[in-house]
Subunit: 193 residues, 2 copies
């Protein structure tokens, strides 16, 4: 159950067998159904999740009650409500499964302990966040630089699997547009070919 997890950490740092067993003490696996809320609005997130199988998104709620997708996570990614988890404050975002998921769960307290007992854990998380930051900046740039249509075609190119995997209305808010507008864009592209 943990092979994928160690394969992932190996991309950043190499934990020794001893370090692995220390970390392993705090890990558990968990299966959750589709549409399960891993973190609800206002929760103080107490866990981060590594996705063995499945698909997770976080979304914000507008005043009008719309769900705005912030990010979509799939297999072999870490997910969580960063802001709430790291600062231990009430979450302004909701973390929800889009499919039945098999997760590796790491609790907040466990991670804090590991930061002290396995110093390399700091390096692992630092490198993970470095990578995440680079990606977040690219997302911001794409939102500003590209029109919705371009963002959709980029996604078709870079993550074709994802386009067919998630509901259109989720995809739409992820791209920063309404489902209606996404439908129009899809038609425009269909007509061209």
């Amino acid at each position: 159950m943990y092979e994928q997890f160690w394969k992932f950490t190996d991309m950043f740092v190499h934990f020794s067998d001893k370090e692995r067993s220390s970390i392993r003490e705090y890990l558990i696996t968990r299966d959750v159904p589709k549409n399960h809320l891993l973190v609800d609005l206002g929760d103080i997130s107490s866990e981060v999740f590594f996705i063995n199988k499945g698909c997770v998104r976080f979304y914000y709620l507008t005043e009008a009650g719309e769900e705005i997708t912030g990010f979509i996570f799939t297999e072999n990614m870490f997910t969580g409500s960063h802001e709430s988890f790291f600062s231990q404050t009430p979450s302004t975002q909701v973390l929800q499964t889009l499919e039945p998921c098999e997760l590796v769960v790491l609790p907040y307290e466990g991670l804090q302990t590991l930061f002290d007992t396995v110093p390399k854990m700091n390096i692992f998380v630092r490198k993970l966040l470095e990578q995440r930051m680079s990606h977040a900046q690219k997302v911001v740039a794409s939102l500003i630089m590209n029109k919705p249509e371009k963002r959709y075609t980029s996604m078709l190119e870079l993550q074709p699997d994802l386009v067919n995997r998630i509901p259109q209305q989720v995809l739409a808010t992820y791209l920063g547009i309404t489902p209606v507008s996404l439908s129009r864009i899809r038609k425009r592209i269909m007509d061209q070919d």
Copy 2:
């Protein structure tokens, strides 16, 4: 010259005098003029910067040659071309001063050495990145959830100094709109009051 720097690090971790002097070995201060490129397109960024005084932005270049502002940094913030610096790859963004700046400079090699010799440095950078990630997510959410007008009024409220400090065309691309559109928004707001 380094008081602000240590005051900043104190918000995340407490470096001992010994640790400070280790870190201090790799720090230098540098004054740069307005419109200076700290990192140019294609450069492999070899330094990060702490801003004692001044204002810095990073921007992307579109195919049409437009400069799209990704973020604006001011006093007491760390800045750099994250992606290029951390992965030591050619930068896809340009880091440019918007004012004459007084900077504290930390070279890449120095930081790598410090990660080994001052383990707490990993914790510092980890916490810094945790904070940055939370903020980056909020920026993404704001870009998707709010209309340009709302983003502008939010900025007026939260960073009123910045609005009058940076050129409108820079501010416009930072908000994800054209200078023309920003000008219209400003007029709309003026007329209301």
